[in-house]
Symmetry: C2
Subunit: 369 residues, 2 copies
């Protein structure tokens, strides 16, 4: 992504709703205790139809959560913002979670990836996701190449509803686009309807996703009625800037230095944070005088999305940053400790996740369709 992104404009352009205080209060009410930091810190900022979904929940109509991952390589910390919210919703509301691992799509989308690679990354990514705290009893995985018998009967019905012209417009397909990628959006829509099919009753779906994914799922919403299923509700995050900053050239942005990958060794994590782009000034003197700019800082984004242990800690760092009290080097040293603690905890949780990941993969269709 080049330059700063105007997220409000993006939201207006897509025609989604603001995730405002009233709706957050409603969510707070059903969730109890407190709200997830990704909500209080404004990382989630937009939605579609979240209100009716929460009203339904409050009135005894359960919903489920769906998110997915295209396994093209290791996950990095920014990939976790969707799954973190999902896991929190599951803990607080007891909702089922459906995770789609699209090892077919990534093979179709990236000519440099082999099937062995997308399958392997699919499993590795799945372990990382499940390690975020999902409940084995309520978490179901569609691992596309292995779950196809469960997905395909519904995908057949979904695919008939989607003309080529629609996917061409939404995804910008070219004549050279392979027919797997053309078909894929049918499979991506299936999990949003699958529990309704499985249980033979209407079960609403909530999809946390990046705002850039909104057009994909708008397509899913558009076909829901015709299939007799409820439109999935959406809740959108801003895009998370990479370690090299939002202004990084796109080639740099794709470099492995632009993110903290979950399989990075400690030394690499340390180096990456050391080199991370900040909102600091040219000199210490200038920074003490003017303060730094958190909004453009990749380190601040890390505090914001995961590593500030409380909102008061996050507010304190933000204040100190802006006021010029906190220098970037000290801020990075503090962050590094938190990151290292997370990596250690995650490694343990990941080993536990491995013990039940296979049993979460859905392989059979629930009933004829």
């Amino acid at each position: 992504m080049k330059g700063r992104v105007d997220y409000d404009r993006l939201r207006e352009q897509f025609g989604t709703q603001v995730l405002g205080p009233e709706l957050l209060a409603k969510l707070h009410q059903v969730a109890g205790a407190d709200l997830h930091p990704l909500l209080t810190r404004g990382v989630y900022y937009s939605h579609r139809d979240l209100g009716p979904l929460l009203d339904g929940y409050a009135n005894g109509k359960p919903f489920f959560v769906y998110s997915g991952r295209g396994p093209s390589g290791p996950l990095h910390t920014s990939h976790l913002v969707q799954f973190d919210l999902c896991a929190w919703l599951q803990r607080r509301l007891g909702v089922p979670m459906y995770i789609q691992i699209t090892d077919d799509e990534k093979f179709w989308a990236r000519s440099g990836l082999s099937r062995e690679e997308t399958r392997r990354w699919g499993l590795e990514n799945l372990y990382d996701i499940l390690a975020l705290g999902f409940d084995p009893k309520r978490t179901h995985v569609f691992f596309d190449s292995r779950s196809i018998a469960a997905l395909y009967p519904l995908a057949i019905r979904v695919a008939r509803k989607i003309p080529y012209s629609t996917v061409k417009a939404v995804f910008g397909f070219e004549p050279s686009t392979n027919i797997g990628l053309v078909f894929f959006t049918a499979l991506q829509s299936v999990p949003a309807f699958w529990p309704s099919w499985a249980e033979g009753r209407s079960i609403p779906c909530l999809i946390p996703c990046g705002i850039d994914q909104d057009p994909h799922f708008r397509l899913t919403r558009d076909i829901a009625d015709g299939l007799g299923y409820p439109k999935p509700a959406l809740i959108h995050t801003r895009m998370i800037p990479g370690l090299l900053g939002e202004a990084a050239m796109s080639t740099t942005a794709n470099s492995s230095d632009n993110a903290l990958f979950l399989n990075d060794p400690p030394k690499t994590v340390e180096r990456k944070i050391h080199n991370a782009f900040t909102g600091g000034r040219a000199t210490v003197e200038e920074q003490r005088r003017l303060g730094a700019v958190p909004e453009i800082c990749s380190v601040w984004a890390l505090w914001r999305t995961r590593f500030a242990e409380s909102d008061s800690k996050f507010d304190e760092i933000t204040r100190q940053c802006r006021s010029g009290e906190l220098m970037c080097g000290d801020c990075k040293a503090q962050l590094l400790e938190r990151v290292q603690a997370f990596y250690r905890q995650h490694e343990v949780a990941r080993e536990t996740a491995k013990t039940w990941a296979e049993s979460a993969i859905v392989t059979e269709a629930p009933r004829p369709l």
Copy 2:
């Protein structure tokens, strides 16, 4: 199909080879005894790479046969010409047979068909096909919606090789074509490579099909090399004229009066044959003087493709027709007896086929891919 079709020109246009006496002699040699009537009577008239396939077989390299059916309704007798040859090849050469029932594709292709219908017709059609004399021990069925777990891992690889522009050109897809139909050709190509995958060695494939299907499987041939599988060989039939004649308007040609459906009751069969278009003359007198024209006669086409019990009988009918000895009414009466006998025999064979059809459906992938 409107008007007469110049099959030699169609063959030249597609660039396929003539199925000539030399190649038929080679097939005769490996098959022993005699050749199938569909071969001796010129219904199969074109091919791609049949020679090397037969040479390989003669030298101990086995092949398999693949054909399919899109279950949009009941089968009629002309649908059997591919499967008749397949069953004969299996009996004579002991080759495995793979049958694909594309209940997904027909749902995508025909907006008027429900999934219940394509599934039901898929089973009904399958019973009819298996009743033609296939060996339960060597016959395998891909029933798309139920065999997807077996097909999909290979379909993922196939689909990446096929750009949208290719299927658009081959199948004439429009922007309004649904994405299921766009994807389908990947699934249609899979059976041609599946046994090679399953057994981990190169096993050539032979596909009997109508000449109009050649472009579909040329696409399969084009991607074979890149996937590391042998190009399937093809053997093509002419198109079989309907009961209302080749010149019937296309609306009439699609009417149920244009074919003998395998589920037609005896009275319907009788009526349809009675009303069938022939190559007869305007008056009996004229026909006795000039003879009739078998080449345009739908009744002659039925004798030719299935109902003449021997080549000598077929030649005799053809001679009598041309010479004016045989009037159309008498010819139809003779044919009706043969057709009725076939329907009676088929009903029994179909009941037997029902007992093993389910067990022939492949539902699992043979190995990772």
